[in-house]
Symmetry: C2
Subunit: 346 residues, 2 copies
Amino acid sequence: MRTRVADFVLSLQDKIVTSFEELDPSAPPFLRDSWKRAKGGHGISCVFQLPYGYDKPTTLEKAGVNVSVIHGTLPPAAIKQMRVEHASVPYDPQAEAALPFFAAGISLIIHPRNPHAPTVHANYRYFEITAQQAEGSEQTEQPEVLAWWFGGGCDLTPSYLYEEDAVHFHRTLKDACDPHGAQLYPAFKKWCDEYFFITHRKEARGIGGIFFDDLCADPHKRLPNALEESTSERPWTKEDIFSFVKSAGEAFLPSYLPVLKRRADLEFTPEQRRWQLVRRGRYVEFNLVYDRGTKFGLLTPEARIESILLSLPSEVRWEYMCEVGTEESSEEAKLLAVLTKPREWL
Amino acid sequence: MRTRVADFVLSLQDKIVTSFEELDPSAPPFLRDSWKRAKGGHGISCVFQLPYGYDKPTTLEKAGVNVSVIHGTLPPAAIKQMRVEHASVPYDPQAEAALPFFAAGISLIIHPRNPHAPTVHANYRYFEITAQQAEGSEQTEQPEVLAWWFGGGCDLTPSYLYEEDAVHFHRTLKDACDPHGAQLYPAFKKWCDEYFFITHRKEARGIGGIFFDDLCADPHKRLPNALEESTSERPWTKEDIFSFVKSAGEAFLPSYLPVLKRRADLEFTPEQRRWQLVRRGRYVEFNLVYDRGTKFGLLTPEARIESILLSLPSEVRWEYMCEVGTEESSEEAKLLAVLTKPREWL
């Protein structure tokens, strides 16, 4: 499974990056940055960013499409922490043992330039915890897998609400989920609304999508759990779950590209650009204050900070008591209404 | 003491805001925003911010000078949390009782427009926890004070390092501290370097100043603690501590204004502006990820988010693998060298 997931995310990354480059051939290409991790593993960061002061029109303003395939050892504290979210992680408080792990995933974020075009984020990953191998045993031996799971999701963050975009995005994700179990989209749509919530602002980061974690062969707290209920409502085997994750990952381009294409060249005013920059401030607030992945990354010694914070937009604005959005019938207020009260789009 | 601290911070706020307005008379004035807290207390937020796209030259880009004088009830969880930092806070795990509190303080942050002029932050506050009053007792009765302390500090965050500015700033703060005890400046300078540290970047937020908390009549973990050692090395009584805090607060304008005046009108290039915006990104990272006051504020239900996040600069930039500062002999690298290894300025 390790190799298959790694192959999948690398090939998806290539397809995604190529698609964005083909969409806007006159823009600077993505920078492709291969890296190795001293403690085990490698990755490719594909980054789009405009030089400071760049004034030719482009579709994107900043984008990052990262793949990482890493392995190493989880210290007991990290295992204990992980157990809170992942019941299947073996943890013996007496043993205080470190355990080997493997993780492979793709993580992407696209910040377009036009305020009418939404930001999008997606992330799919596979995680394994394996038994300590006896000293002197061959590195190439297949270690015993003690726990494994998939996680991921995809969500949209517009500055201006176009209902047809929201419906298209959710519809494409639902169509990718449904063949793998009727329960997946409703459960993961709800989870997404709950997860991407900026508590101190009392508003969602965006208009949602899907979010899931800890998906493995065990019962899941957010899915019908008794095997008897209906095996068709969720994927149970590692093979079936990987198949679901592939469908979701492959749905990214069809869910987002048509939206981007119809918004990227719309005219916009300086006020609309201002509103976009203020909304990006909220994006930064969520990522730095709440996002589990970001927080975990910032706390990890020797983590690659530049890759973790690649999610942050290039230009951001904070205003005290910003009056944009306070006028009841404005387009900005229309967005805020949806962020305050998540909607069923389908 | 409540009234005296409240009077002090209100008068200091007025003096500071007036000084900035006199420094740049053609700029828009500060907005003065008085507010009342539903659960008890009031405050004044004085805010300077430029309208989006404002293109006339001004000294400041964004500034907030807040005073709050609030009282209310601390739930048991908050008391327990507070006890970690403040040993004198009474906490009976059995009782699970809420306790009344009072807090008065001034908090300010100044982001100038010119990349050569440093950002500055200061904050001085008094905190009291009092006994539950018997039901039916007069609200005007003086409640018994169970614990009290002062906290605060002042620190400078340049984008470009001018050693004479750093020396002047630290010298002025030290001169304000010394008459109240020779141990104060060295202990609080060190604390400041430790506190304003962006762990994930392995660099300080700025070039320091002073930082202190939990200063009361009890022994203090960062000061000579046995009364016998030397009473002259720190203030011990509430009166003496308030007197120290007043000196520190009054040192703000003389520590900062001369620096601002000599840097505010220097010429700068777009590259230098870019570097300032990138440094502001680090400021946001510190405030949202590490700053105790900000984190506590964001977690407080019904907190005034606009006042808490007033500290964030108006324009900010994040770049992936920003190459500015990587050239060894550059002015940007000179700043980074100091941030990586805090210096004794005096």
